[in-house]
């Protein structure tokens, strides 16, 4: 044992032997344990310095802020996402309650959730600007092919992040938008059905779907994003920035400027603009939460997030027989065209006005998507039925947001953990004695023959409850509800019980 210790010490001494100046000894402790030699440390600090020493042909420009803006937004999403996870529970039972808790009760909860939700929209906007700038400047050409490919993967991952994150609050719009979104997979021949079931964790949407989306949103996709962001930046730094559009592609007479300080400053200003924009939006117009997902709702009109609206509108035009063309073939073709751009367009020409074909196809696709979005919006306004339902849905969301946070009763049924006053306990006995449970269920959650009575006390005041119990309305009678013919004292107790079941 003694011999082994000596050997280790001598190895350590050998490692620091060549240089024993005062400054060296300061780092000796760390060096021995990290295997970091002075030479390596110097290399590390110089490579850190090199981050700011990127030479930009043509100089710093406002046009180059989008990449670093996206990097900032990703960081913001990671931080706000981690904080949201402090309170969020990914289960169909609790997801909506915990998001309501964050939104309505936790200090700054609504603000942080709004930053995260608006952040995803901001990413889509800045991403489109970043891609468009790259495209117009012809920056995907030549040595930057791989940068473009890594960027395409990042684009897809970002869309995946927003799609999976949309379900997590488990409110009406989240539930129904994801139902439609996952159903789209069935258009894929042969593999579609199994893929959908794999994503949903079964044939139907449910708590397993939420778990799967949570894992994708929080573990798998962020890990892939991180890896591809690293690859994207690494490849970009290897290839070097394309810089300004040269006047002549053969002899680019451009002076270069270092990344630091001007470009860093411009990027910083852009990040400030993003922070200010998101902060003002999140503070003055926080993201709302709708009522909890109710799968039996047949009236709900789902609408996806704004950036999926054009695709949503596009799908309306494809009759069932040709749907596969519209849903699969054309989008796949466009995606391939997009990804393969640097391999299809091999000319060194970068000036957009000398590339009329590719620029006009790109412009056409974007104008087309914008137009589809506009048409969808106009259709929703013009159809009175749809407009009415959408207005009602908005009103429902507002009404839900106005109600104070209602904590969830622990235990399996809402009655299990309910604190009952003596009058309500007596009312519970009356409820059981009068066999109300047979139709309304032992835990009042309703059966196929009668609706739930949970929350009935919030729906009607005591007087109304008393009168409709004594004399049910026509609709109630049609459903099989009998008049409650009991002593006045028992009725008071019964109402106390019903009012305590929230």
């Amino acid at each position: 044992m003694n011999g082994r210790q000596t050997r280790i010490r001598s190895a350590g001494q050998a490692a620091i032997a060549p240089d024993t100046t005062a400054q060296e000894s300061r780092h000796r402790w760390l060096d021995r344990r990290s295997g970091m030699s002075d030479r390596r440390r110097r290399a590390l600090s110089s490579s850190l310095r090199a981050v700011f020493r990127e030479a930009i042909p043509g100089g710093a420009s406002m046009a180059y802020v989008f990449g670093s803006g996206l990097l900032y937004l990703c960081l913001s999403q990671v931080v706000t996402g981690m904080f949201l996870a402090l309170y969020y529970v990914p289960s169909a039972d609790h997801a909506h309650t915990t998001v309501a808790y964050i939104t309505k009760e936790v200090q700054s909860g609504s603000f942080i959730r709004s930053l995260h939700a608006y952040g995803s929209s901001a990413i889509v906007i800045v991403l489109l600007l970043h891609v468009s700038q790259t495209f117009l400047y012809g920056a995907y050409k030549g040595r930057r092919k791989l940068v473009w490919l890594a960027g395409c993967v990042l684009f897809a991952l970002m869309l995946g992040m927003s799609f999976t994150g949309y379900l997590l609050p488990w409110d009406q719009k989240a539930y129904f938008a994801t139902t439609v979104g996952t159903n789209l997979l069935t258009y894929i021949p042969v593999l579609g059905g199994p893929l959908k079931s794999l994503l949903r964790g079964g044939t139907e949407m449910g708590t397993l779907t939420l778990s799967r989306f949570f894992v994708l949103h929080v573990f798998l996709l962020p890990a892939l994003l991180l890896a591809f962001i690293a690859a994207h930046i690494f490849l970009f730094r290897r290839a070097g920035p394309a810089g300004a559009i040269p006047r002549d592609p053969e002899t680019p007479e451009q002076s270069t400027e270092l990344f630091y300080p001007r470009q860093v400053l411009v990027d910083f200003v852009f990040a400030l603009l993003i922070i200010a924009g998101l902060g003002v939006l999140a503070h003055y117009s926080p993201v709302a939460l709708g009522p909890k997902a109710s799968p039996s709702d047949t009236q709900y009109v789902p609408r996806p997030e704004w950036y999926y609206i054009p695709v949503f509108q596009w799908l309306k035009y494809w009759e069932s027989g040709f749907a596969i063309v519209g849903v699969l073939v054309i989008p796949a073709f466009v995606a391939l065209l997009f990804v393969g751009l640097p391999f299809l367009d091999l000319r060194p020409e970068r000036r957009p006005w000398k590339r009329p074909l590719s620029v006009s196809i790109y412009g056409f696709i974007f104008i087309g998507l914008g137009a589809l979005g506009g048409i969808s919006h106009r259709n929703d306004l013009r159809n009175p039925v749809i407009a009415g339902r959408l207005a009602k849905q908005r009103a429902d969301v507002e009404a839900f947001m106005r109600r104070p946070f209602e904590p969830e009763a622990a235990g399996s049924s809402p009655l299990a953990a309910l604190f009952l006053s003596p009058a309500a306990s007596q009312g519970k006995k009356v409820f059981e004695r009068e066999r109300c449970t047979e139709c309304h269920g032992a835990d009042l959650s309703g059966t196929s023959s009668a609706p739930t009575l949970v929350g009935v006390g919030q729906k009607y005041d005591t007087g109304t409850l008393r009168s409709i119990l004594r004399q049910p309305t026509d609709a109630m009678s049609d459903g099989g509800m009998q008049p409650v013919d009991i002593k006045e004292g028992d009725l008071t107790a019964l109402i106390a019980f019903l009012e305590s079941v929230k």
């Binding site: 030479a55 200090q107 603000f111 040595r143 680019p252 270092l258 400053l265 922070i275 003596p422």
Partner: protein, 194 residues
């Protein structure tokens, strides 16, 4: 073939060298000042952004105290025969983050020398064990460290720093109601903690 990239890289290297020279000549030049400014900007922005995050994180610690709520124990007439302490259960609603839980807590209903009913918490002020009533010895004994109390909860002996904690109680509509609270352990005076 003429490689424009090569000349570009060459020029970049020249800029590096020039930049290095300048930095070496002026230890605190325009660039270091800019860097300082930028660093300060990033730091203050980070501090500003961490305010909502900290509020969010600390929310469970600064939540407002629960409101006073009276819990019913029993009808006073049912307690007429009480001479020595009797154990009663009281249901206490508590918030557990976004959940509402109902806990059953034991309280002792006792009668003082003037014949008034009052309630004692069954939680030992020493380390929080449940105190048991021993009828034959006419005293409360804590099973953990043998703290002993009179039928009115006064400390008789053992490690507890104070007597049993009396809970606020009153008679309302012929019912004894109690305000259930928890108190800090190991201190000589009664101090509410929840």
């Amino acid at each position: 073939m003429n490689h424009p990239e090569q000349t570009r890289m060459g020029r970049a290297a020249a800029v590096f060298r020039e930049d290095d020279d300048r930095l070496r000549r002026t230890p605190f030049g325009r660039r270091s000042f800019l860097g300082l400014l930028l660093g300060a900007g990033v730091a203050s922005l980070g501090a500003l952004l961490s305010v909502p995050l900290l509020r969010f994180l600390l929310h469970p610690l600064v939540k407002a105290k629960a409101q006073l709520s009276w819990k019913e124990i029993a009808n006073v007439e049912d307690l007429a025969s009480v001479t020595s302490p009797v154990k009663k259960l009281v249901q206490v609603e508590q918030r557990d983050g976004w959940r509402k839980i109902v806990l059953q807590k034991a309280v002792y209903v006792c009668r003082d020398k003037r014949g008034q009913l009052f309630a004692l918490s069954s939680v030992c002020p020493h380390l929080g064990c449940s105190i048991a009533w021993h009828d034959e010895e006419n005293r409360f004994v804590c099973p953990c460290h043998n703290g002993q109390f009179t039928a009115e909860g006064k400390l008789l002996g053992g490690p507890p720093p104070r007597g049993m904690d009396q809970l606020e109680s009153k008679v309302e509509d012929g019912k004894l109601v109690v305000h259930y609270q928890s108190f800090r352990q190991l201190v000589p005076t009664k101090e509410v903690i929840a």
